[in-house]
């Protein structure tokens, strides 16, 4: 009899979750579309090649119609996936980079370190993120990197709490105490033993931070303080499309659907991953 690895069981649990599998496939398709955007679109995202057909409704030539400035709308939506996904992944990466060390320190040392980190988290839980994001956006004049950093500023809290809980739970385990008795430094223990054991919450935290960042980007772009035009951002397209909603429905509906499908797919994929990696958390 061969022994199955925990990874095998995690994969099997994931495969059993139909919603998560479908979400993963949808997400993969969106990622591929974003990566190969120049191959599947006819024009550049800022080319005003169809000014004469501005506002054209969806048709065989223009799958999603033409926008108010004579740009092929399908191209804009596809390139929008690039912007949205890049922001989502980059912000999630920064969230993890901030969240892991703080969570590990708070969980391992406890006491004053824990108190300090928890007060910091409290600070972020009482200030409405959107307000702070708007203020930071005004302060830095928006832009791609700013949005990523703002999203990370509010995304790290979740990762930090997950890592802290996991480190706290493993700190008193025998193998950790054995390592300490053998003379391992706290840094070595955290880096070699505690963080690897916190890997699955970190992965889950990373994936679930992506949709939050994408939502924040869309909200800020909707308010006009996101990524500046002509960079195609879905939030910005929704904002513009809203003005023409009664007459040219496609300008609002397509970016809305794109945003909703992407956020939904990422969330379901993340939920499925969490249930697969940590069956005890199922259903939360």
């Amino acid at each position: 009899m061969t022994q199955r690895s925990p990874l095998y069981f995690a994969l099997r649990r994931f495969a059993d979750n139909k919603a998560a599998v479908v979400a993963g496939i949808v997400l993969a398709v969106i990622v591929l579309m974003a990566v190969f955007a120049p191959l599947i679109s006819k024009t550049g995202y800022a080319d005003q090649d169809f000014l004469a057909q501005s506002y054209a409704f969806p048709s065989g030539t223009f799958w999603f119609g033409v926008d108010d400035l004579g740009r092929d709308f399908f191209t804009r939506i596809v390139y929008g996936a690039r912007v949205s996904l890049t922001i989502g992944f980059a912000a999630a990466a920064f969230s993890v980079l901030i969240g892991i060390p703080l969570g590990a320190i708070a969980g391992y040392y406890g006491g004053w370190a824990d108190w300090g980190v928890m007060r910091l988290i409290e600070l972020f839980s009482v200030v409405p993120p959107l307000l702070a994001a708007m203020l930071l956006g005004a302060l830095t004049n928006g832009g791609f990197l700013t949005i990523v950093l703002i999203a990370a500023l509010f995304g790290w809290v979740q990762v930090c709490l997950l890592v802290r809980a996991q480190v706290k739970a493993f700190r008193e385990k025998e193998f950790v105490r054995a390592a300490a008795a053998l003379g391992a430094s706290p840094g070595y223990i955290i880096h070699r033993h505690l963080i690897p054991n916190a890997l699955s919450p970190i992965i889950v935290g990373f994936v679930l931070a992506i949709p939050l960042a994408m939502m924040l980007d869309a909200s800020l772009s909707f308010l006009g303080i996101g990524v500046p035009p002509p960079t195609p951002s879905w939030g910005q397209m929704i904002n513009v499309g809203m003005n023409f909603m009664y007459f040219y429905w496609h300008l609002a509906v397509f970016p809305t659907a794109a945003l909703a499908i992407t956020v939904l797919a990422t969330t379901l994929f993340g939920d499925g991953l969490r249930d697969a990696l940590d069956p005890t958390l199922k259903g939360r």
Binding site: R119, E122, L123, S125, V126, V127, P128, L130, L131, M134, L135, L136, A138, L139, P211, M215, A218, S219, F222, L223, I238, M242, M245, Y246, W249, A252, T256, L259, A260, V263, L264, T267, L268, D271, G283, R284
Partner: protein, 309 residues
């Protein structure tokens, strides 16, 4: 318990002070001042006089302490974008629409969500469970301005049943309240489902069933009471979050509430109003979290606050 509450109040005071300092510094670090706009250009002399009359020429720390001293006496200064009234008057004028719509949204959405979550937990893996899960996920992942737009498209544009926007006649409240209700309903559906499932698998429920108690009594007297704990604690913060208005819902439905001022106070460098809004929301969240923790401890005798490990 009293020691715990006093400790929490001290911690809230600390949080509040830190937030006020950070926000004040950030606000003033944004380039430009309230009279630098291009709509009504004023000469440098006039600008200097205006700034002096509002105390904006003083060093930042003086301005900060003056403002916070006023806050302690419920004086939040004068909003520059509407100098004929005090900030408090402006807030008391702009808040009621947000409070009515957002409050109604939570008060309608939360019970509906609880019912949906209960139905889902009791009929696990049935169509209603899948419906509830789908609804809960959609409600939490689709941005609220998208939900608002969907409502306007369907009920105002295609069916023409309700007005697309406005504030005045109660029937124009229906769509914004529905939009506001979506998030509390989705959150509660999710919470209730997982809390109920959690309790339903506990051994004491099996014992109650073995004792021959009717399913109805088990659910309402035992399961629900235990499952209610986490549900009670999320209510107050959620109420505050919704009843202080959503920039998006109010912009979509043209509601003259607080939402627009969150944006305009930042873009117009309306320092007093900006501080007042952020401090007010922050303080309400702090109090909401404190109250929910106290309620949680009161409802749950297993928790002994103050003696946490």
């Amino acid at each position: 318990m009293i020691r715990y509450i006093l400790g929490r109040i001290a911690s809230i005071a600390l949080t509040f002070t830190v937030v006020s300092v950070i926000v004040f510094l950030m606000m003033h670090a944004v380039p430009g001042g309230p009279f630098d706009g291009n709509d009504m250009p004023v000469s440098d002399e006039v600008k200097a006089k205006l700034n002096a009359s509002l105390g904006l020429d003083q060093p930042l720390y003086v301005q900060y302490f003056k403002y916070m001293w006023g806050v302690l006496h419920f004086d939040f200064g004068i909003p520059f974008q509407s100098p004929g009234e005090t900030t408090l008057q402006l807030l008391s004028r702009a808040w009621p629409p947000s409070l009515i719509l957002g409050g109604a949204g939570v008060l309608i959405g939360a019970p509906l969500g609880i019912l949906l979550g209960m139905a889902a937990a009791l009929r696990r893996n049935s169509w209603i469970d899948y419906l509830a899960s789908a609804f809960a996920t959609l409600g939490l992942t689709i941005p609220v301005f998208v939900i608002s737009m969907g409502l306007i498209m369907v009920f105002a544009v295609w069916l023409n049943w309700l007005p697309a926007s406005g504030w005045g006649k109660p029937h124009s409240w229906i769509l914004p309240i529905t939009a506001y209700a979506a998030i509390p309903m989705a959150t509660y559906a999710r919470y209730t489902r997982s809390a109920m499932l959690d309790v339903l698998t506990k051994p004491f429920v099996t014992v109650l069933r073995a004792k021959g108690l009717s399913e109805r009594r088990i659910i309402f007297q035992h399961v629900l009471r235990n499952a209610a704990l986490p549900m009670v604690t999320v209510f107050l913060p959620m109420f505050i979050g919704t009843a202080t208005g959503s920039i998006f819902v109010e912009a979509m439905f043209r509601v003259p509430g607080l939402g627009a001022y969150f944006v305009s106070s930042i873009t117009l460098r309306d320092y007093s109003l900006e501080m007042a809004l952020i401090l007010m929301v922050t303080m309400m969240f702090c109090i909401a979290y404190l109250l929910s923790d106290i309620v949680y401890a009161l409802l749950n005798p297993r928790i002994r606050v103050g003696r946490r490990s």
